[in-house]
């Protein structure tokens, strides 16, 4: 769950991290008073995407009239394909230095990692490795003053800026930990008149912990309507733009199924991991989501482990009985309660493949041949 800049800055401010004086607006007309009180301002479109500045999403103004006009432009615009609902208006900062600072998770080392560089203000992916400081954090002791001091030393900071930057790092780690963040990023952290200030702010909160932050932190959702529906079902679902709708169980096998569809010459309409242990009803709802995206064919690839083949079979029968399916469907069913699942499908006149290559080649062939059989029974599946 990503937060908008203005939300992240609100959290920063509440946790003692200095941010520029600013306010968020949805209506351009409302800016005038703030700008007349604060003078020169930056007007920043609130979108969940990097590279906002280059894309024209940040404008500057010195008078209320100019600010209202430019905010109006931004609020009417699409920046990087995203609609701008809000702008954050901040006092303009006289920047002396720009620093990159972030805390995220190093999956390989299983620990938080702090990243810092004096090459701030630019896309951090452009910064060469040797200019990027990486420091792993031991969660049992957290980030401590000595570590922050060592980082500011490596950055080459001195005097009050070094002290303030070190102090800010400790507070940023506190935010990272307290808000279950996956990422907190300040790019740039600026030094202006000897003091440090978070000129930008990015935060991504662990989706699994989002519930802890309602209503303090409003949930920002980048998902499509179907993705949200799937999420509510506890199903991993990503919309793609191909031909064949896919439901499988397990992220790995789902990815591999998409890969195979591509390998065999078609393309996937979606990624859908129906997960482990989903019951009959959830599986049925997941199938409904798939059908709503109007794929040319459906491939159901179930390898039962925690998922039981009989549940999937029952679910599919239920959906088949309750809604009209007018595209080809190929089912592959193997694993836990496989026999029960196959027999439920048989009782309902549906056969299933046991081998994945046969299932995939069949569904691709059906799409290519525009075959319109609703459910394909494959006698040769038994050979597997």
């Amino acid at each position: 769950m990503k937060l908008f800049e203005y939300m992240a800055k609100e959290i920063f401010r509440n946790n003692g991290i200095p941010v520029p004086n600013g306010r968020v607006f949805s209506q351009a007309g409302d800016l005038a008073e703030f700008v007349s009180q604060n003078g020169a301002v930056a007007i920043k479109s609130q979108i969940l995407s990097g590279g906002r500045g280059k894309a024209g999403g940040i404008k500057f103004a010195t008078t209320p009239e100019e600010a209202v006009a430019k905010a109006g432009e931004l609020l009417a615009a699409d920046i990087k394909g995203l609609k701008v609902d809000k702008v954050l208006v901040e006092e303009k900062i006289a920047i002396d230095q720009e620093i990159y600072l972030a805390i995220t998770v190093d999956g390989t080392r299983r620990k938080p990692v702090l990243l810092a560089s004096m090459a701030g203000g630019v896309d951090i992916e452009q910064v060469p490795e040797e200019k990027l400081i990486k420091r792993l954090i031991d969660v049992s002791i957290g980030l401590n003053p000595y570590a922050a001091r060592e980082i500011t030393r490596q950055l080459g900071l001195t005097g009050s800026a070094a002290k303030e930057a070190a102090d800010l790092m400790l507070k940023l780690y506190n935010v990272f930990r307290t808000y279950d963040a996956e990422l907190v990023e300040i790019n740039p952290l600026v030094i202006a008149k000897g003091h440090v200030l978070a000129a930008d702010a990015k935060m991504t909160i662990d989706d699994e912990c989002a519930y802890r932050y309602q209503p303090d932190v409003p949930i920002v959702d980048e998902r499509t309507e179907a993705e949200r529906k799937a999420r509510d079902l506890g199903i991993s679902y990503v919309e793609l733009d191909g031909e064949i709708g896919v439901m499988a169980n397990g992220a790995g096998i789902t990815m591999a199924t998409l890969d195979l569809i591509q390998e065999f010459g078609s393309s996937p309409r979606n990624f859908m991991d129906a997960g482990g242990g989903s019951g009959e009803e959830a599986t049925a709802k997941a199938l409904e989501i798939l059908l709503e995206t109007k794929p040319k064919a459906l491939l159901i690839n179930i390898f039962g482990g925690i998922t039981r083949c009989d549940d999937v079979a029952r679910a599919f029968v239920k959906v088949k009985n309750s809604m009209e399916i007018n595209i080809p469907v190929v089912i592959r069913l193997v694993g836990t309660n496989e026999e029960a699942g196959i027999s439920i499908l048989r009782e309902n006149g549906i056969d299933s493949y046991k081998k994945i290559d046969e299932a995939v080649s069949k569904v691709v062939a059906l799409v290519k041949n525009e075959d319109s059989a609703a459910v394909v029974a494959a006698g040769d599946a038994v050979k597997a």
Partner: protein, 288 residues
């Protein structure tokens, strides 16, 4: 022979009275696993599939010492259950639960490091040493004993590969799922090391996916330290960047963790990388 799990390992099931706990306790018992107790707060004194239920792991351990524990509790309670098992002296912990909070997972791993506990998961199907014992949720029918070690990030894809191997007459020494989350316990390297020194393993199949750099690090280890043949299969070739493909770890971010970089690293380490799942069996056969 096998790694980590053999038929002498005594197992506790945490969350045994839940749906999944009950079902898979039955499946594990059916496979021959030695389950000495279950834990479920407020349910002590009950039995599940003939297994006695205790209030805490510590209580269970007072009745009969266990070596391993498998966790089926809800995601929010996994941290507590994991610390509990480790403090009580469990040395192998299998965390089946998915959606474990990221920071909880980091704290679990930190404590595991301190207590020298081996962790499989979270978000794993567990571990099985075919013909000996299993701890987890994999279907019993597809495995058969043999000389090939299998280690995977993802679950069901492991089954697919094992199914291919077994169908081709190739049995497995141990099959283990590292877990699909960004933060998991054992890494490819940890398990490759164990397979390398296991006399019962003659070749290894590694099932990876896009995201992170675990496969690349494994490739370096294989190149420098491994004598046994390794065959790899990787998922996610068709995945677009920036999309999280189900697993928290399966995402190409900032141009890193791509399918191509993993294939390149593994190939350079002498690993045969299968393009299609059913090629794995053939490659392993040639390597044996």
């Amino acid at each position: 022979m096998a790694i980590i799990l053999d038929d002498k390992i005594k197992i506790i099931v945490q969350g045994i009275t839940g749906n999944q706990g009950q079902f898979h306790t039955g499946q594990m018992l059916a496979y021959g696993s030695t389950i000495v107790g279950g834990v479920s707060p407020g349910k002590a004194g009950q039995e599940v599939q003939g297994v006695p239920v205790y209030e805490t792991v510590e209580e269970a351990m007072q009745v009969q010492t266990a070596d391993a524990s498998v966790i089926f509790v809800p995601a929010k309670l996994v941290k507590d259950a994991s610390l509990e098992a480790m403090e009580a002296g469990i040395k192998t912990l299998v965390i089946i639960t998915e959606h474990v909070p990221l920071h909880d997972a980091m704290e679990i791993m930190d404590y595991a490091e301190k207590k020298q506990v081996g962790i499989i998961g979270p978000n794993t199907y567990g571990i099985i040493s075919p013909g000996k014992s299993k701890i987890g949720i994999m279907p019993n029918s597809i495995f058969r004993p043999g000389p090939v070690g299998v280690v995977a990030r993802s679950g069901t894809l492991s089954y697919e590969i094992v199914f291919q191997l077994s169908s081709a007459g190739i049995g497995q020494s141990t099959v283990l799922g590292l877990g699909g989350d960004r933060i998991v316990g054992y890494s490819f390297i940890d398990i490759l090391e164990k397979f390398e020194s296991d006399p019962g393993t003659q070749a290894v199949v590694m099932v990876g996916e896009i995201g992170g750099n675990a496969e690349e690090e494994a490739a370096q280890y294989i190149r420098e330290r491994m004598s046994k043949a390794v065959v790899a299969f990787l998922a996610g070739k068709s995945a677009p960047p920036g999309k999280r493909m189900g697993h928290a770890g399966a995402i190409i971010e900032r141009g890193k963790g791509t399918f191509e970089s993993k294939v390149a690293a593994l190939s350079a380490a002498g690993v045969q990388v299968a393009s299609l799942p059913w090629e794995v069996g053939e490659m392993v056969k040639r390597a044996l």
